[in-house]
């Protein structure tokens, strides 16, 4: 358990006892959980963490869950992979992928935040939970609530990818499609949370939920041998993840678990929904909302809840933000799969394409230790690759037919590429 923790207003600093509350009633700004790090210092060491389970709950002492909480939903501890082949393509030579495309149980980093949010929901006595979601969160809430025996109401934009809808309904969740975009859905959920006594993981439980993202940062540091990287590239939807990875690194420094060093944070968005990247590029300290229009639906939040904090974290770290087109997103999904064997969803395409651009523009130097955060699995957004690959004609089960087939493709490849293997 966390030694002790409480809610704190991010703007006016007012402190609150733990409760399903996300808004300061003095200045109406967002609340955030603060863990008592001075108390944690006495018990948390590299050794105590190593003795924990091989999932995100190895950091339970730094997460806002009650003393007697026994985790039921092991998420996290995903691979941190050196990515030499992708690095070679984009002009890098010290690139790592944090691969939450294989985060369990539902194949996105949202499993981490939901694990913490539902622990809080149980602590507060909710028997019904819900969320507004662009898909991955819906999957994670539905699966983990099923395991915990909680009733679930999940609200999503009506045009969500079919796989994400199916991957929510299969767990028995009540899925409500809303005729609008994510921002409409999110707003409705704010009203519902005011009216019904339900635990909405990203509304009234948001401060607890968001803390789960810190485990991405803890894991990166531990998997690098308890050191911090030079750069981190993070996709941005609501903007929370990038701020929480930064918070995780700062906490590890305060706890004495890693040596302090400057880490630059880089944010990635799709051009069709890039309010945070736009704020970073223009130097604005506020976010102008946008109407999203991109295939990266899991990042399509036009009015990001943590946008102003994400932009601030990027600027303060000396980082940058970039946005990429839908065509670049698809191409990057293919490139990551072909070079590193990682099939990511559209958000991962955004991150990969932005990573490539940051090297191309010289914002990241080739030798700097850089971690690119892949947050979701490509099996959920296969629709964007419709038509990208030919089925090919079936051949008879004869060796001669196979040899002819191989010769045909060789000739075809030589015709198309002049014998040079390019994609």
């Amino acid at each position: 358990m966390a030694s002790s923790y409480e809610l704190c207003c991010r703007e006016c600093g007012r402190k609150y006892a733990n409760a399903p509350l996300s808004i300061c009633d003095e200045c109406f700004s967002p609340l955030e959980v603060q863990v008592d790090l001075e108390a944690a210092k006495k018990t948390v060491t590299r050794e105590t963490i190593a003795q924990g389970p091989t999932n995100m709950w190895r950091y339970q002492a730094l997460l806002p869950v009650s003393e007697n909480y026994v985790p039921q939903t092991p998420a996290g501890w995903t691979p941190l992979l050196k990515a030499p082949r992708l690095a070679g393509r984009i002009g890098a030579n010290n690139l790592y992928i944090k691969n939450d495309a294989v985060c369990l149980p539902t194949l996105s980093f949202k499993d981490r935040v939901v694990a913490v949010a539902l622990a809080a929901a149980q602590d507060f006595g909710f028997d019904t939970v819900g969320c507004s979601s662009t898909g991955n969160l819906a999957n994670a809430v539905a699966a983990q609530a099923a395991r915990l025996g909680l009733k679930t109401y999940i609200l999503v934009p009506a045009d969500l990818e079919a796989a994400k809808i199916l991957n929510t309904q299969v767990y028995g969740a009540n899925l409500i499609r809303i005729d609008g975009n994510y921002d409409h859905v999110n707003r409705l959920c704010s009203q519902i949370a005011d009216r019904f006594h339900w635990g909405f993981v990203n509304v009234n439980l948001r401060p607890y939920y968001a803390e789960g993202s810190k485990t991405v940062g803890y894991e990166i540091a531990e998997q690098l041998g308890w050191r911090l990287p030079d750069n981190v590239v993070v996709p941005m939807a609501g903007g929370s993840l990038i701020t929480k990875i930064r918070k995780a690194f700062r906490e590890l420094v305060v706890l004495g678990l890693v040596e302090d060093k400057p880490v630059r944070f880089f944010g990635a968005q799709a051009t069709g929904c890039s309010p945070i990247a736009k704020a970073v590029k223009s130097g604005a300290d506020h976010i102008e909302p946008q109407r999203p229009s991109t295939i990266a639906r899991s990042l399509a939040i036009g009015n990001p809840a943590d946008g102003v904090y994400a932009a601030r974290a990027i600027r303060e770290s000396g980082g940058w933000a970039e946005d990429v087109s839908d065509v670049e997103i698809v191409s990057a999904i293919q490139e990551l799969a072909e070079t590193e064997g990682i099939f990511t969803e559209t958000a991962g395409g955004v991150t990969t394409a932005v990573t490539a651009r940051l090297y191309a523009h010289g914002r990241i130097k080739p030798g700097e230790l850089t971690v690119s955060c892949i947050t979701g699995n490509g099996l959920k957004t296969t629709d964007v690759l419709q038509g990208a690959y030919e089925q090919g004609q079936a051949i008879r089960p004869r060796l001669t037919d196979f040899e002819n087939y191989i010769n045909e493709i060789k000739e075809l490849n030589e015709l198309v590429t002049g014998g040079v293997n390019v994609r």
């Binding site: 704190c8 300061c24 001075e38 918070k247 506020h286 809840a305 904090y309």
Partner: protein
């Protein structure tokens, strides 16, 4: 001409529990003043030290973000439903944006009283 204004739970501490009001305000600045007239206790919470409406307070008209409708230039129509939602960030009042300001003397943002990262009033992580 009248519009229905729905207030969030977070306001209710300062509105004696009132959840909505009817207003005849013509536009957003007038509406904010009307809300403050109805609930004087809310005024100091609704605006920061510089007189600007706090950045995390959002206004929606019939499901649409008022910033997409022209913001303070939008003229309320009879029967409009105005929804006030705090803390879906975005910040309609930027530093260079004084359209909702009242007695603006400085565009400086209020100083953080606790660190966003370590949570201490006396920061221990920087």
């Amino acid at each position: 001409m009248s519009v229905r204004v729905l207030l969030p739970n977070a306001f209710q501490k300062h509105t004696n529990g009132a959840k909505e009001i009817q207003s005849t305000a013509a536009n957003l600045p007038a509406l904010i003043e009307d809300i403050e007239t109805h609930f004087p206790a809310l005024k100091t919470h609704l605006r920061d030290e510089t007189g600007n409406v706090r950045r995390f307070i959002n206004f929606y008209v019939n499901e649409e973000d008022i910033r997409f409708l022209g913001n303070e230039k939008y003229a309320f129509q009879d029967g409009d439903e105005v929804l006030v939602i705090p803390s879906i960030a975005g910040g309609s009042c930027g530093e260079d944006d004084t359209r909702l300001a009242q007695n603006v003397t400085s565009s400086r943002r209020p100083v953080l009283r606790c660190c966003s990262y370590c949570g201490q009033e006396e920061c221990i992580c920087y």
